[in-house]
Symmetry: C2
Subunit: 313 residues, 2 copies
């Protein structure tokens, strides 16, 4: 049946959740199909695996934060960002209200959950800059399970998005404190956590037409999601019935301000995050982040679900 379609793969950065809506919309509404793509959407068990798998060429495309994309490149993985799915979702240290962590000083003596290797580097840097010694806190690797770790009292706080883990924390513990990492680190933006559409650079060059098709369909779905949010959430739940809860609906709504509608890589943000990775010594002093992204696959046609019916200027 799909003999005439191109089989390709996209690995999510996390278990499927509402911030992936445009991907599921493009799949469910047949936007990928209409572009000739038979796209398999995959989920990781450990988000730290993603860039390596893309680098090795096991999957064609994936989602990953801007800072991880740079980190992967510096490690020699052949990855490149072809666009933005989520634009600067504010990221911070999330905790239950009763933990009373509302300033940096309150973090002393606390157990701090991080996702993977790179989160540990960020946390250690933040705490060192805040004047804390490594013995003043305990970093605990929690992967995708921050909320479970808070519930089981394994950590006092941990890294997450304002539109995702903070909402889960509010829901479960009747409130949440949130210390923004960009502010703790003086970054001035949350671009380091922007979620990018990435790919294996060599494969993307080889499959240029397929990549254009992927981006056209995804941009169309991003427009659909932001212009028809209630319908988009319903369609997401059709694809992933376990998301049909009031909590997930709230996470979806909280994510609406952060979806990129044009999918563009933002140069200013890459520059800031490039400087941050050099500061963290993840990238060498002379590392140029402009090798990490391209906007050449961003569609130039209007990004909307509606076909042009009129005239061109």
């Amino acid at each position: 049946m799909s003999a005439c379609k191109t089989r390709t793969t996209l690995l999510l950065n996390w278990y499927a959740n509402p911030y992936h809506t445009p991907i599921f919309i493009a799949k469910e509404l047949g936007f990928y199909e209409k572009e000739g793509l038979h796209l398999a959407i995959l989920e990781p068990n450990d988000p730290s695996d993603v860039t390596e798998i893309v680098g090795l060429g096991s999957v064609d495309y994936a989602l990953k934060a801007m800072i991880h994309t740079i980190a992967a490149k510096t490690k020699g993985f052949d990855v490149i960002s072809i666009g933005t799915l989520l634009d600067e979702p504010p990221t911070g240290l999330i905790s239950k209200p009763e933990a009373k962590i509302s300033t940096f000083e309150d973090l002393k003596g606390k157990r701090v959950g991080y996702i993977g290797h790179f989160g540990k580097i960020i946390v250690d840097d933040l705490f060192a800059q805040g004047g804390l010694k490594p013995t003043d806190y305990k970093a605990v690797r929690v992967g995708m399970h921050l909320i479970e770790a808070l519930k089981q009292d394994v950590v006092d706080t941990g890294i997450g998005f304002v539109n995702f883990q903070k909402v889960e924390c509010e829901h479960l513990f009747n409130g949440a404190n949130f210390l923004r990492i960009d502010e703790l680190a003086g970054l001035g933006c949350c671009c380091f956590c922007s979620v990018m559409l990435i790919g294996n650079a060599k494969k993307i060059e080889q499959n240029s037409e397929q990549t254009h098709a992927l981006m056209r369909a995804t941009q169309r779905a991003a427009a659909f999601t932001t212009e028809n949010p209630e319908e988009a959430f319903k369609i997401l739940c059709r694809a992933k019935p376990e998301l049909n809860t009031s909590l997930q609906q709230k996470i979806f709504m909280r994510t609406l301000p952060f979806f990129s509608r044009n999918l563009l890589n933002v140069e200013r943000d890459w520059e800031k995050v490039g400087a941050y990775t050099r500061h963290l010594k993840v990238a060498a002093e002379d590392f140029d982040q402009s090798v990490c992204y391209t906007n050449q696959y961003i569609p130039t046609i209007p990004y909307s679900d509606q076909k042009p019916v009129g005239c061109a200027l």
Copy 2:
């Protein structure tokens, strides 16, 4: 009591509605007050009055679409955009489902509502490019009352936002058709309708510190709105109790993807809209739209409701 505060005025582009939330949040949460501003928020009865009033210096600041800001400048009004409130809200011709207007051709013989002088120019240009003669349709000025005009069967369709009038139409008539103007006109974006923070250029130069303060408070409120949407809507309703309805809540939710978080003027969008105004012969061939905006008042500090508590890189 407010002797030490600077009195200033901001004229909305429309009657107060959910897309003005950041302005009301900044007022209600005292962000303007903390910046030393005593801001009077004003509403127009005819949105066509706005740029002229700003140009004459009767009010200090206002909201107005990008395209109107350029049009005002070409008419000699001394206005300038200092930032973006709403980023590319898709704009189109809205109609009841039973009108069966789903392609450009369906518009023949129809009564088309427009807001003011400039909307008429856009509609006439669209229809001329679509090959329709002026006798093939009837343009009807409806100001801010499109939905009422649809209800009273005065027009068959009219111009509005996907996140505002289209939602009202869906609510009242159990559905809405929507023909996007950017696509009819081949613009490739809805930037011509981006809602800008504008001001009287001379007054802004004279009151540079006050303008910086206004933008800091507004950006902080835009961050608050997008990061705490439920709470933001509640606060909006505290300021404007008549907005406390399920329809307005839906309009608010539909607006979330379009709030600008950083308030930046986007050069690419100004260029596109500059070209569009030259095409419409609203601006002269040699008109340079870069005189219409400045980003010098955009805060460079992190845009968040939370004060930095840590260290700077």
